[in-house]
Subunit: 146 residues, 2 copies
DNA sequence: CCTTGACCTCAAGTTAAGTTGAGGTATTAG
DNA sequence: CTAATACCTCAACTTAACTTGAGGTCAAGG
């Protein structure tokens, strides 16, 4: 069965314009019918679902796109293809969770105290940046400022 | 001792333009010297530190501003004033951590499987939105789409 | 057949959080 | 005193992730 943009939008809970936008960004693909209207294969649903899930994890569309580059281009991705993607992201997610936990643990002690010294306070020194790289890579950055 | 923008920027690890921007947004304040240059009291350091810490938690400047509205306007905030702020955010942070943990736990099971059904899959149904409200309020939203 | 709703493209607008630049004034070190 | 920094304002630009609108075409039901 082929899907129209409207149906996909409805099923996925996104706007039609968002699907146009994703296509323009190369995140999804479509074929066209005789009248130039988009038609999708069923796997569009999972693809959009994965995009949405990744976004909830805090992953940018650019990173999602990079990760999608590892999916097979010739055949429809299998469950195991998607699994590979997800396991990479799981590592990122774990890192992000760990980071937020550290932040939480420093929070009470540090915000109220006088220690915001930029050199010693954990709120300053436990820094990180995620989602810039491809799948799974977690970059830790240390301020080192002043 | 009074601080110049340059010194504050250096100590806090932000650009001068960022301080201008924060002031314009009402997040920080300054007085001016005879030559119209900004001068800050020492508590600017903590204020900027708190902004930066909150941002790391994923809190928007708009929400930070709302939270700051609860700080005393007449006197310099005390350690306990800042503590109150931080405890509100700590709740938000816990909620965010919990959300990401749920997401992580559904991830492997769901991305690869065929369950992305919009109605049953946890990746769709465990949704949330944070940081829109003031201090501490955590809003949970359920998609309910299709 | 014809109307209505779904689509199409392309350009421009939106929000967040800053950054960059132009043109001009203050401060400070030598 | 003067040159080099540091500041000032205001406007415009940047990126991400979309949304909105204009002007026009397609498809489906009665």
């Amino acid at each position: 069965m082929e899907w129209t943009v409207g149906k996909v939008a409805q099923r996925c809970g996104v706007n039609v314009s968002t699907l146009h936008f994703y296509e323009q960004k190369g995140l999804i693909y479509s074929s066209r019918n005789a009248g130039n209207q988009r038609r999708y294969k069923a796997d569009i649903l999972r693809r959009v679902a994965v995009i949405k899930a990744a976004q909830k994890m805090g992953i940018s569309l650019a990173s999602i796109n990079k990760a999608f580059a590892n999916l097979p281009k010739q055949r429809t991705p299998t469950a195991s293809d998607w699994q590979k993607l997800s396991s990479g992201w799981q590592a990122e997610l774990n890192a992000r969770i760990a980071y937020l936990e550290r932040l939480r643990d420093s929070l009470t002690g540090c915000i109220g105290c006088g220690c915001l010294s930029m050199t010693r306070c954990p709120l300053y020194n436990k820094d990180d940046k995620m989602g810039a790289g491809g799948t799974g890579a977690v970059m830790l950055e240390r301020g080192g400022r002043i």
